[in-house]
Symmetry: C2
Subunit: 154 residues, 2 copies
DNA sequence: TATTGTTATACTCTATAACTATA
DNA sequence: TATAGTTATAGAGTATAACAATA
């Protein structure tokens, strides 16, 4: 009963966060996967496309498309890899970097404003519960993946 | 600081829930928006396409595409509207219905299993916090929308 | 021979604009 | 004239398969 309440609240919050994020990105002419790619560059520095594909959980082919789009809009660029002539290093441009800095600040601000008005104990309990839920979910997902592999073997 | 923790936990949980959901749907040959449409039919009964478009927050044109796909896979069907010959009523087939029943049960089970192992007080505090966060988010989104409208007026 | 990235192709998500049939 | 749904078109997300250049 209350478990369903927790799940439904989480799903509702997800939907709102996602919709708000998409609207904010749209306003800047960005899209979710492109921003995600820039986010990785922002936090981990220049990367090869294969590495980006792993980080983002998408195919290398799709990274080509994303980088093409970011390049065309002047947010990222390809540079030659210093030692491997097959590979390129993708990096943020000045404009891409300053955009990520702005978004990073907004992220912090949003986080603070979410718990604004809640007492410390409730926040602490919520953090405990969220961490627990996250752990449970990771276990469940692992089980699902296991079940799927078994299925695929037949 | 802890606000960012809450936000990051929520985002991480969203990502996991979404990825897991997509994998489960994929396994059944479904997609997220098609399932969402079936979910509405399951909970609210047969609907016109215009009404479905409103419920799902998409264009009527896209509902046509979704219903076409569900029809082609035998999960939903179009029926003539009893009084308005322009309109159709979309309804679940037997197979669509039983699929929704299965998913509904799994949803309940997932909810229960998420809080499995947490004491009642923590769960209560988490629910309080989540409801608060949701309210804050709704306020923020409304503010964003307001700001956007102002921008558009110039 | 294995790996990096790209060309070719295809399906799904989603929108806008124009149109048909009916209200 | 307004509304319900569809044809036409298009951009974005995403995948697989085949291929080129380089390791």
């Amino acid at each position: 009963m209350s478990g369903t309440h927790v799940l439904d609240s989480l799903l509702a919050i997800s939907r709102i966060l996602e919709a708000d994020q998409e609207r904010e990105l749209d306003r800047r002419g960005l899209t979710v996967p492109r921003t995600h790619l820039m986010w990785v560059l922002f936090h981990e520095g220049p990367q090869t496309q294969v590495h980006l594909a792993e980080q983002l959980g998408v195919t290398p082919r799709y990274v080509t498309t994303l980088v093409d789009a970011l390049d065309a809009t002047g947010l990222a660029r390809r540079e030659p890899h210093p030692t491997d002539r097959r590979a390129v290093l993708v990096d943020l441009t000045e404009r891409g970097l300053s955009m990520m800095e702005t978004m990073d600040a907004e992220h912090e601000q949003l986080g603070a404003s979410l718990i604004d008005g809640l007492d410390g104990e409730t926040v602490a309990a919520a953090i405990r519960a969220l961490d627990h839920v996250r752990g449970r979910l990771e276990t469940l997902v692992a089980e699902h993946e296991h079940a799927q592999k078994e299925r695929e073997e037949w």
